[in-house]
Amino acid sequence: MAETRDMEFQDTAARAAEAAAGEELGELSGDRMVLNMGPSHPATHGVLRLVLELDGEVITRATPHVGYLHRGDEKIAENMTYTQFIPYTDRLDYLAPLANNVAYVLAVEKLLGIDRQLPERCQYLRVICCELARISSHLLGMGSYAMDVGAMTVFLHTYTEREKIHNLCESLSGARFTTSYTRIGGVSRDMPPGWMEQCRQFCREVVRNFDETETLLTRNKIFMDRTQGIGVISRQDAIDYGLSGPNLRGSGIAHDLRKAQPYLVYDQLQFDVPVGSVGDCYDRYLVRIEEMRQSVRIINQCLDKMPGGPVCIPDFKVSLPPKERVLTRMEELIHHFINVTQGVNAPPGEIYFGHENPKGELGFYIYSKGGGTPYRLKIRSPSFVNLSILPKLLPGHMVGDVVAVLGSFDFVMGECDR
C-alpha cells in the first residue's frame, strides 16, 4: 500500500517574502542556479532577455535585459522633418501601427497649435484607426498569451480576425502592417468606397469571435489555474512603477487617457473603462477582452456618426495641397515644395502628448527650437515602463509562471527598445 504524505507548499506571496528575506540574510537554502531566458525565446515575444536566479524551481531574482532591438529612433527623429518620421512610428509598436501614427501626429499638431482645428471626418477616421489597432493588438496579445500557457487553438482563432483587420488597413492605407496612414493635419487619404460597410461587417463578426474565444479561455480550468493569483500587482505598485494601459487597469485603477485627457472626439463617444479587482494575470486578460468589446462599440458609433467633408486641414502651410492643384497653380506648388523639402515650420517650444495606445500610454515629448525638424523627440513607450516592474514581480514565482506573467503583460520590444 502506497503511503500518502502531505507537503506544505506556500503561496506565491509567501515565497516572495521568503526569497526577499533570504536575500537580506545572505542565506542560501540550497545551490542557486542562474537560468538565461531569451533573447530568442518564444515566450519573450521578441528579443527580451531575462536572467533568472533560481532556488529549485522558485525564482529568487530576475534581471531583464532590453535593448536588443534598439535602432536609435530618437536620434533619427532629430535629423528629419516631422512628416518624414511618420513611417518610423509604424515600427514602434508594430502590432498597432495605426495607433502610433495617430499618437505621433497628434503630438506634432499640439506643438503646431492646430489640434483643435482638425476636420471632424479626420477625427472620426482617426478614432476608428486607433480602435482597430487596439483590437488588432489585443487579439494578437491574447492569442500568444494563450499559446504561452498551452492553448494553441486560440492563437489561430484570433489571428483569423486579425487578418480581416489587416485587409481593412490595406484598403484604407495601402499597406497591411506599415500603414503610415496619418499626416500632420489629417490623414493620407479618405476611406475607399464600401469601406464603412466592410468595417461594420468586421465588427459584427469579431464580436462572435470574442464570444468563442471566451468560451475557450475565460472558464477554462487550465487557463484559470495558470493565471489566477499569478503575477499579482497591487494598486500601489502599479502606480509606483508607472504602469499604464490594461496592465494598470488590471490592478484596479480606472485611468484611461481617452477619458482623463480626452483627445479627438472621444468625449463625444460612449464607452466604459474596464478595471480588474485582483491585479493578477487573469484580470489583465479580462480587461483586454472587455476593452476589445468597448472598441467595437466605439467603432460602431463612429461609423454611425461619420460626418462628410475634408480629411485634412485646408491650410496648405501644414498639409499638402491636392495634387491636381499643385500641378496647375503656382501658390499650391510653392506650398507643396516647401512642405516636402523643409517640413512644417513649427514654433519654438515643447509639448508632451500622451496617447492611450493598446499597450498603454505612448507619449511623445517634442522640444522644438523652431523650423521643420525637432531638436529632441522623446518617445515614452509603455512597454519599456511596464517591463521595469519585472524584477519586483517575478521573484517568488515558479519558472513556469514566467511565461504567464510575460504573456499577460503584452509588451512589444520594438517599442520598448525604440
Binding site: G67, N79, P262, Q342, E350, G363, Y367, K378, F384
Partner: protein, 214 residues
C-alpha cells in the same frame, strides 16, 4: 471585474494652482510657471534639489505618477544638459513639467528612484544615452546599449552614422555601412545640398584610422 465611470477633470484643482503651490513651497529654487499649449513648466535653479521638490510634489500635491524623464543636449551652450520630468496625478489628472539644467563637467543629479520606482529605468536610459549620472541610483548600468559601450549616442556630437568601437569581445564594433544614407533633413539650408546633407562616410581619426577607406 467591473466597469466604472471614470471621473473627468472638471471639478479638480487647476494645473496652474498646483504649479503655484509647488512654486510657493520652494520660491528661491523654482521659477515659473511658464505656459505653452496649455502645459505648465517649472524651472528648477538648483539641480541638487530635484529629489526634495519631487518628494513634496508627490506627497503633498498628489503627483503620484512619474510619466517620463527626458534629457536634452544643448550642445555648444553652457550648461549643456537639460533634464525634463513629467509628473501626473491620478486624483487630479493634471500634468506638470519640471526642468533643470546640468553642466557638462558635473553631469550628475540626485536620483528620484526613492520617490517613484519607475524612475529606475528612465534614469538608466538617460545615463546610457546622454551620460548623466544619477547619484544614489540603486543600479546605474547601461540599458539599451551594451555594457562597456564607450559613447553616449543621443549627445549632439555623436554622429548619426554611428562610431566604431574597439571593445574586445563585443559584436558589431564597426559602424554599419550607410551607402550614402540615411537621408537627413536640415531646415533652412540655402540649396538642396545644404538642406539635405547625407550622412557621409566618417572621416578617419585617431580612434578609427581606417574609416572612409574602402
Amino acid at each position: 471585474m467591473s466597469t466604472v465611470q471614470v471621473t473627468t477633470h472638471q471639478t479638480k484643482p487647476a494645473a496652474a494652482e498646483l504649479a503655484q503651490r509647488l512654486q510657493a513651497r520652494f520660491p528661491e529654487w523654482l521659477s515659473g510657471p511658464e505656459e505653452f499649449r496649455g502645459e505648465l513648466t517649472l524651472r528648477l535653479k538648483d539641480a541638487e534639489r530635484i529629489a526634495e521638490v519631487c518628494a513634496v510634489a508627490r506627497r503633498e500635491l498628489g503627483f503620484d505618477y512619474l510619466v517620463d524623464i527626458t534629457s536634452i543636449d544643448h550642445y555648444g551652450e553652457d550648461p549643456r544638459f537639460m533634464l525634463v520630468y513629467h509628473l501626473y496625478g491620478y486624483d487630479h489628472l493634471r500634468y506638470l513639467r519640471l526642468k533643470l539644467e546640468v553642466s557638462e563637467e558635473k553631469a550628475e543629479v540626485p536620483t528620484v528612484t526613492a520617490i517613484w520606482r519607475t524612475a529606475d529605468w528612465h534614469e538608466r536610459e538617460i545615463y546610457d544615452m546622454m551620460g548623466i549620472r544619477f547619484r544614489g541610483h540603486p543600479d546605474l548600468r547601461r540599458i539599451l546599449m551594451w555594457d562597456g559601450y564607450p559613447y553616449h549616442p543621443l549627445r549632439k556630437d555623436f554622429p548619426l552614422g554611428g562610431k566604431p568601437t574597439h571593445v574586445p569581445d563585443v559584436a558589431f564594433t564597426e559602424a554599419a555601412p550607410l551607402e550614402g544614407g540615411p537621408f537627413v533633413t536640415v531646415p533652412g539650408g540655402k540649396d538642396s545640398v545644404a538642406r539635405e546633407p547625407r550622412v557621409r562616410v566618417p572621416e578617419p581619426d585617431e580612434t578609427n584610422p581606417s574609416a572612409g577607406q574602402s
